[in-house]
Structure formats: C-alpha cells, structure tokens
Symmetry: D2
Subunit: 143 residues, 4 copies
C-alpha cells in the first residue's frame, strides 16, 4: 500500500489551445479518466447502482495540479496513479503525468464515498470494506 496503476492516453487535437499546448483544464479530466480506468481495473465502477435503488458514487472534494512542462497534440501520456491515502470515507490519489521519462505535471484529487438517490442529495458513507481491501491489495506495492 499504496497501489500503483498507469493509464495511457493520447492527446486529442481538440484538447490543445491557441498556445499550441494541452489546455490546463484538460489535466483534471485526464485525472478523472485515470481514476475511472483504475476502478474498472479492480472490477468496480465510480457509479454503482445498489439493490435498494441508491447509487454509490465518488464526488470530488478537491483537485489540484502543478504544471512543469507542456503536453502537445498526439503526445502519448502515461498517467501514473498512486493512492496516497485511504481514509474512512475518502480517497486521496496522486496523478503523475509522464511523457516517456519526463514528468509534465503532478495532480492530487481527493474524493469521498457517497450514497444518493438519482437527482437527490448526497450523503457521505464509509468506503465499503471489500472495496478498501481491493484498493490496498491492487497493483505494485510502493514503500
């Protein structure tokens, strides 16, 4: 613990801006895509329908990113996901954006496990035990 997972993503033309580089707001979308790919890789979804009609989801509490070097059209990015902290109700994950050996950006996103009816208010809940176990077991152990 924590586990490590890499999501590989090619930069699309529409994700660039007139400065000729990937627009910074797209890094937050890439983080989310990496997160969802990770959830899929352990057999879970970020939006799970429960037998009682409720949904268990993971709204964002905060997300930050620092930008070291630009990404360009057609770049193939390796987004390395490192789980930094599994809390009782929340998950803090770091995302390292790599192009080959170069670290382009580093993001951190904190999400909280919630249950809600479609369209209704959200209530934070403890991360289901079997899910927390999967998070801890998965991937290459670091440290």
């Amino acid at each position: 613990m924590p586990s490590r997972f890499t999501y590989t993503r090619r930069v699309a033309f529409a994700e660039t801006d007139m400065a000729g580089i990937v627009h910074f707001a797209n890094f937050y979308r890439y983080m989310e895509e990496a997160e969802h790919a990770f959830f899929r890789s352990v057999g879970r979804s970020v939006s799970e329908h429960q037998p009682d009609g409720t949904i268990v989801g993971w709204p964002r509490v905060s997300a930050s990113c620092s930008f070291k070097s630009p990404a360009f059209y057609d770049d193939v990015l390796d987004i390395q996901l490192i789980i930094e902290r599994i809390g009782v109700k929340s998950l803090t994950v770091r995302y390292d954006f790599m192009r080959d050996e170069t670290l382009l950006a580093r993001g951190v996103m904190k999400v909280v496990c919630c249950v809600f009816q479609p369209g209704g208010p959200m209530e934070s809940i403890e991360i289901p035990t079997e899910f927390a176990a999967v998070l801890e077991e998965d991937g290459e152990t670091v440290d």
Copy 2:
C-alpha cells in the same frame, strides 16, 4: 414567423485549438447556448418539470454546420437564431454566426419535443400549443 433572436457570446481561450482558432466542435455548443437563451427569453426552459414528475425536453435529432471563416479568441460573436420550421413535434432552427458584418459559420439544428421520467426512455410528443404560439409570436418577423 419565423422569429429572430440574437445571442451574443465572447470566445473563451479554452475554446481555441493549436491552429489558433475556435475548435469547430464548439460551434455546436454555441448553437445550444443560443437555443437555451432563446427559450429563456420567451419564459421557457429546455428542461421543464411537469406536475406529474415527468420532464419535457428537446433532444437533438440532427445538427450541421458549415464553416466559412474562423473565429478567434476574444471575438464577440452574434449568433442569430432563425426558426426555420415549427413542426408538429419538432423544431428546426438556423444559427448564423456573425462577427460584426461577417458571416463566419451557419448551422442548423433539429430538435424534437419529448417527455420522459428522469433516467427513463423518451417519447416524442406534440409541441405544447401555448409554446408553439410563443415561438411564432416572438421577435421580429422576417418575410
């Protein structure tokens, strides 16, 4: 009939691409924004909750756009909405993208009036009479 409505919109930096111009897919978002501004201007919404819990909405049937001249960051676009056809269940609207006197692009979008439960399947319905009347009455008459 048809009525005319203008929606004015400044181009955001994030809407440009590495060619230095507005990415073409954003024109379809601009059309939708113009459509929704028009709906608001006649006191309606594109998503109206009914007393019986259903929603009346307007999913897209088709949308096309031809591009004559690029739009740039910080351009102030006047999007002229012209209702081309009010059908029994559908609405066909043209969108002329103007920068001052220059026509940059011309789009057409056809939408259909539908009723649905949140999350459920959609069923097309006739455009409510009082809404069709508003559409015909509104704005400057052309031809």
Copy 3:
C-alpha cells in the same frame, strides 16, 4: 475504394450531460479523433510540417450528424470511418457510431487540404498525389 477504418473509443464521464447521455457536441470531437487515428494508421498526420516551414492541414468545411439513439458513460463505441469522396482538394468522410450492432449516430465531415504559415492565412491546395493514393489503397474495399 472507399476504404474503411474503425476507431474504438470509450465514453468518458465528463462527456455526459445532465440528461445522463453523451452530450451531442462530443460526437463531432469523436469524428475528429477517428479521422486523426485514420491518418496515423496510414502514416500521415493532420498537421504536417513541410521543409519550407509551411504546414499542410485539413480545416473543416462542414460537419453534420444525425442522432438515432443515445450513448452512455463507459460505452465502448466503434466509430466506422468510410471515405465517401476524394475530391481534388477535399475529402468527405462518413462516420458511423456503433455500439455493438446498434447504429447510434451517423456523421459526415468534409475537410479541405490547405497550406499555411503558422498563424497565417490558409490556402487550399490539391491533395498530394501520394496521399490520395494511400487513401484509396487503404483498408477493406467496400462495393
């Protein structure tokens, strides 16, 4: 001739809207991604730097799409690209959006071959002969 190419793309969460489906404007981005993947598959790029400092690119002349059935989060879409017409200077391509055997949407995009200096005006040119040849040779022949 024409050739056929399939680009497979998973729908991201950020591409959905509050109606619970893929926002229609994203289909135009998907078309462009499919186009670029096709160019890559034949060893070309949509933005090629020439020895004289100019760039050969393919700005959009028009793009249309008709929507038959919605796409949802996590859907794996097969976007089938069919070259409908190779003109002297332009290329017209159809895009069929499939989820398994279901046709969700069908788009058509016309692009024109242009040369330009970075930041300068564009001039349409004839499609380079060797490129037109590749377009005609590539992929499974239909009809």
Copy 4:
C-alpha cells in the same frame, strides 16, 4: 491591495454531467475566464503582442479547487477574484464561486509572466511595472 473583481457566468447545459451537476473540470475553465475578464477590465490581455514580435503571456504554474456544494444548469455564478499575491514574476489569485450568498467552491491559480515567440519556448520575466501598478490599484481595496 489586493483588489477584487467579480465575473458573472451562467452555467451552460453542456457543462453538466450525468450526476446532474457542473462537471468539476469546468471550474478551472471558469477561473480562467474570470482571470481574462479581469485582465480586460484593466485594459490588458492575457496574450499581448510586443513590437519585437514576441508575446507576453501567463502560463499556469498550478491550479487547485475545493468543492463545497454543486452548481447546476442555468445557475448564475458570481466568481469573485481576489489577488492574493503579486510576486516579481508570478501572480496568485483566489476565485470564490458564489451562487447568491452560498460559497460553492474556492480555487487558487498561480500564473507566471512569460515572453515567447509563437511556437517557441517560454521564458519567465518580471511582471511589467505598469501592469503590476494597475493590478494593485484596481478595484475595491480589501484590508
């Protein structure tokens, strides 16, 4: 010092996601729009062409946002921009997202003043004196 500026922005339909709320990545685009509106309000641009052919721009160093309450379609957001720090080369700005009296989210973005040739590498420079002066003078002084 610091000065305060408010940018008002209505949420577009395309900015929502299947959870029925504004997708979190759009808050970073809103921050940038507010920043650019502020630059315009003091007679400057985020992309200024110099007599020598270079451009002075403001690439992002980092951006973070914490999310307290969701924003919805058609919400009118007041984005309050507060300059937190004017450094020698960088600018740190806070963005409070308000819907009426409710704080929905709070972001911080750090940008650095750079000079570059179109398409070339960027070099950080000191914020031009007359610009720093404008930043300090503008708007209502808060403590």
